[in-house]
Amino acid sequence: MASSEITRHLCVADARVGLDPEGYLVDIGQWSPAVAEALASEEGVILEAEHWEVLEVLRAFYAEYEMAPAMRPLVKAVGRDLGPDKGRSMHLMRLFPGSPAKRAARLAGLPKPTHCL
């Protein structure tokens, strides 16, 4: 669940974006592509087209269901929206190594996924 506690701010252009203790946006309304780029660059990642399309899937998922998906539904949503070749956990692991559901949700401005470890 989204925490409402702001522990630090990310400065993007003129905006100060509040982040919760785990680095997720406190207010999804503050998200922009520039915010995603700033969060990614903190992780040493440069977002490519394949990242962006997954972030779009996540934002559409959240708009529809009001929750950030765990890995199983993320794989399914990516497969549905971007085709079966990309709807595989290997593809997501390559783009967002470690915990794809969490890392991608954070970059997409979503709260931390609730239903995964």
Binding site: F61, E64, Y65, E66, M67, P69, A70, M71, R72, P73, K76, A77, T114, H115, C116
Partner: protein, 126 residues
Amino acid sequence: MHHDHDTPAGDLLVILRHAPHGSGWLREGLDVALVAAAFGGDVSLLFMGEGVTALVEDQAAGALDQKGTAPTLRMLEMYDIDTLWVEAEALARFGLSADELMLAPRVLQAEDSAELIRRHARVLTF
């Protein structure tokens, strides 16, 4: 099940007996179902008693913008939770029919409840 001899046994059956908004039980039950499914479990849901009202169309957020459960219910298919049962007795009590409910639940006759429970390795009531 008289009409579903092919229904496989599942890992977990979550029985939802509470209405949306009135308490947190419905959401808690759905959370447990989603966690189990996220870890690869084969999860089914049974809507019993007041729980049947969770499936009524046209639900909205509550007072103070409290989130509704309808978006979560629509999300179930993304977690591959697609075996949903609704108790015939509950439909009758609320004057509802299964075909006007969201997610097209299957109707469970009273005499089949025990068998449905027996087919699941684990059953949790909420």
